[in-house]
């Protein structure tokens, strides 16, 4: 048994459920290799961390290579397509995604 008290466990589970519920609706956009990118990346982290990036092709190349080094399962023959897809989907000049919130924001 974890030592976390039951009330805190319940609170954390609710928070996590709310967060995951919001974030999982944010899939990656359609594209020729979308499914492979989604699978390779979201094994470790959710898609929102990708969706908020606005990077050049050069920067996306560095990110893809870093993630492959860190264990992302990307077939070498797909590497260039990954970079192309991410660069086209999340370029520097694309407006930011809407902000996702959980809980109530206090107003003054």
């Amino acid at each position: 048994m974890s030592t976390l008290r039951s009330g805190r466990v319940a609170l954390l589970l609710c928070l996590n459920a709310a967060v995951v519920g919001h974030a999982q609706s944010l899939d990656l956009p359609a594209g020729r290799i979308q499914a492979k990118v989604q699978t390779a990346c979201t094994e470790c982290h959710d898609a929102s961390i990708i969706r908020q990036q606005r990077l050049s092709e050069k920067s996306w190349t560095k990110e893809v290579d870093k993630m492959i080094k860190w264990g992302a399962l990307v077939d070498p023959s797909d590497r260039a397509a990954f970079v192309e897809y991410l660069s086209a989907s999340f370029p520097p000049n694309k407006p930011p995604d809407p902000t996702v919130r959980i809980g109530r924001s206090k107003t003054r």
Binding site: L12, K62, R101
Partner: protein
């Protein structure tokens, strides 16, 4: 809270919560680099201290709780706070203003633990390792601080935050608290402390969390060998109210917070004319070392229209927020003069 990422969990405090000098725990930003520890037994949890010490220690939560408690109120800020404002854009969590908060941390002094273990003369750096669960081949989130900061009287192994045990998101059962320094120094879910003769060499010390030694042209390349580890926070203010692109009556109450890491805020100035003239904001009374100062300025707009409000902080080391933050490839320590655009209606 603003959800920057659900997995790994990264939550940003909305601007409206800057109104409180102490940030409530549910509204305190969360920055996780890895999965949070999934299971462990508090009765079996140990904090192990080893390396360049005379006596290795293995302390339980009960042992730590018996040590003399010390309380430090600290403004903790993620090194990447404000990364979203860097131009050109850089990779990483796109924090805007709210990866920062102020809380009262309590726990044992790290110094007391190290003295109990008996430091050897070769001990120059102290490395923290937590229980973060590492996915794939990602390098573990392990970081070190120099012995001088580790032995400082305000550096803690914190067990409590704002009077209650740490929550899981904030590092339960124990975290380092390295006051005035970037949040990454204050490792969570702490389980191992190693004293060594050199700075830890893992990914999150190098190339992670480093700043170029020289000014970099935005978008330019940086030689990793020409960088230094980031320690203390810079001088910075943010405007919490009004929010960007909001509407206001002609009496505009401008509020925000300003902080400076290990230094102290001495003034915050406001400009409504693109920085041609500056007027001092009123600093709120609550203050403590390592903590932000809340500030306020009430401005009467001369007429309806569009205005840009700017805030600029200065500290007792003579540092003033720059017009443009020093660009770096990871967007660390963004601290440009803050600004919001508002529409004043009649």
């Amino acid at each position: 809270m603003i959800v920057r990422s659900a997995r790994f969990l990264d939550l940003e405090m909305p601007q409206s919560y800057f109104g409180s000098w102490l940030t409530s725990v549910p509204h305190f930003f969360v920055r996780n680099h890895m999965h949070e520890p999934s299971t462990w037994e508090a009765a079996e949890w140990r904090l192990n201290i080893g390396g360049e010490v005379q006596n290795q220690l293995s302390l339980s939560l009960v042992d730590l709780g018996k040590m003399a408690p010390h309380t430090v109120t600290n403004t903790l800020e993620c090194a990447g706070n404000g990364r979203a404002f860097q131009i050109p854009k850089v990779p990483g969590v796109q924090w805007q203003r709210g990866a920062v908060g102020t809380a009262r941390f309590q726990g044992a002094r790290l110094r007391d633990l190290l003295l109990r273990a008996g430091l050897k003369s070769g001990g120059k750096h102290v490395t923290f390792r937590g229980l973060d669960e590492v996915p794939g081949k990602v390098p573990p989130f392990v970081r070190s601080v120099p012995i001088e900061k580790a032995m400082h009287e305000d550096t803690l192994i914190a067990l409590r935050m704002n009077g209650a045990p740490l929550t899981r998101h904030h590092g339960y059962p124990a975290r380092a608290l390295v006051p005035g320094w970037i949040g990454a120094a204050s490792c969570k879910w702490l389980t191992e402390i190693q004293v060594s003769d050199k700075e830890y060499e893992g990914n999150f010390m190098k190339p992670g969390y480093r700043m170029p030694n020289e000014i970099i042209v935005p978008g330019g390349e940086v030689n990793p060998e020409n960088t230094h580890s980031i320690t203390s926070l810079g001088v910075k203010s943010v405007i919490a109210q009004p929010t960007d692109n909001s509407s206001s009556s002609r009496e505009v109450t401008i509020r925000g917070a300003a902080w400076a890491g290990e230094a102290n805020i001495t003034r915050v100035d406001i400009s409504i004319d693109s920085g041609r003239s500056w007027r001092p904001a009123r600093l709120a009374a609550e203050r403590a070392r390592y903590c932000w100062r809340l500030w306020e300025y009430v401005w009467q707009a001369p007429s309806a229209g569009e205005y840009t409000i700017m805030s600029r902080a200065t500290d007792d080391q003579g540092r003033t927020q720059p017009q443009t933050a020093a660009w770096n490839p990871s967007g660390y320590l963004y601290n440009a003069i803050d600004q919001v655009k508002i529409h004043v209606h009649s």
